[in-house]
Symmetry: C2
Subunit: 219 residues, 2 copies
């Protein structure tokens, strides 16, 4: 179909909208003089697609081979644990299911709420302890995708530090103002943990879901 | 509890994190010389809280009394229709339910997929037609919250223009690169429709949910 401008609108077939969006993103990145590592580009471009925010081209940082590690995990029946039901809702569960994977969120679980109350911590932190316990019983790898709570990322760091947990990949993209920057910097200090981190205050459930989906579409 | 800095982390009780976040947001807005209309501030601050992106302080635009119109609708058993399951997941359904309201998303409905195929349009556009049909059968008001698809916002405009639909409030915050800006500008041209619009490319399911929740917490 011919593309044309009608009354200020760009005419694009429904099934071509995403393709056209990514073409615009790549064009504007090039205009900004930003050239992405081809292994990281699918993740970064999908996050920009989800947010219309090019800041993520600078703020997303990857440990060595993190995308391919994530893709490999997703090919081997990965369990994704996330700290928000929004991220869970945004992950392509049809694609994930076709690979034998699943996504879990423990934030509404009564045992998690109880543990948080008992410890004076957050449900997000307690949900990471539940993920660590579950991980040892799972046959496949686990990916942790934190889109909201820095307290989850901090507890995850502590569990890894204590040798109690080693997820295949940490997607650390909490958003906000209290300890968000610090939680990410702390996780970035690990040299033994594959991670994708959105440095700074920005992130969110939409960013977490976009990163998982970018990996899924390559798996 | 005394607040202190330990190893770079700010010590804040779990139940105080949100309060502290909003205090930081207000402080930084003031430092930027941005003073919000008190009727709009709860919405704008909650969107910044969800995104860590102060751009929304400038991009969010409100028709006259839009927040109070939304709050009134939520007090009268509103039905919220959204174009993404992520926004649905992010809306506080406990609070909404306590007010007798509900939130619906038609994106996965087979009749919507069929209508989109038949028309060569998107499921998001077809879901607005389903909302319009449903609206006339509902006793309460309807709020439309579009966090993803500009095609939904464009179809919504056409339905209103044709006199086929008049929602109590339009939350128009699709995100992206193809016709997103144009769809918002078109809706902004209406003088008869209460709206909250995130002008420009930015928006998203998280922004849509934050706006709904900001209204809910005042209802």
């Amino acid at each position: 179909m011919e593309e044309k401008i009608v009354a200020g609108f760009e005419q694009v077939l429904p099934e071509k909208i995403e393709e056209r969006s990514f073409a615009i993103i790549r064009e504007e990145l090039a205009q900004m003089g930003i050239y992405l590592d081809p292994r990281e580009a699918p993740v970064i471009e999908r996050v920009i697609h989800a947010t219309a925010d090019f800041d993520h081209a600078e703020s997303l940082v990857f440990s060595a081979d993190a995308p391919s590690i994530g893709i490999q995990a997703l090919r081997h029946r990965a369990t994704i644990v996330t700290d928000t039901n929004m991220a869970k809702a945004g992950i392509n569960k049809k694609k994930l299911g076709s690979l034998g994977g699943q996504v879990l969120c423990f934030m509404a679980d009564e045992d998690v709420a109880e543990a948080a109350r008992a410890q004076g911590s957050t449900r997000a932190a307690a949900s990471m302890e539940k993920a660590a316990r579950l991980s040892s019983a799972l046959p496949g790898p686990m990916i942790i995708a934190i889109g909201n709570a820095p307290t989850a990322l901090i507890r995850l760091y502590e569990l890894i530090q204590a040798g109690a947990f080693m997820p295949a990949l940490v997607i650390g993209v909490p958003v906000g103002f209290v300890n968000v920057v610090q939680s990410k910097e702390r996780m970035l200090s690990r040299t033994d943990t594959p991670y994708i981190i959105d440095r700074g205050r920005k992130g969110g459930s939409n960013v977490a879901a976009a990163i998982v989906n970018a990996l899924l579409y390559q798996a």
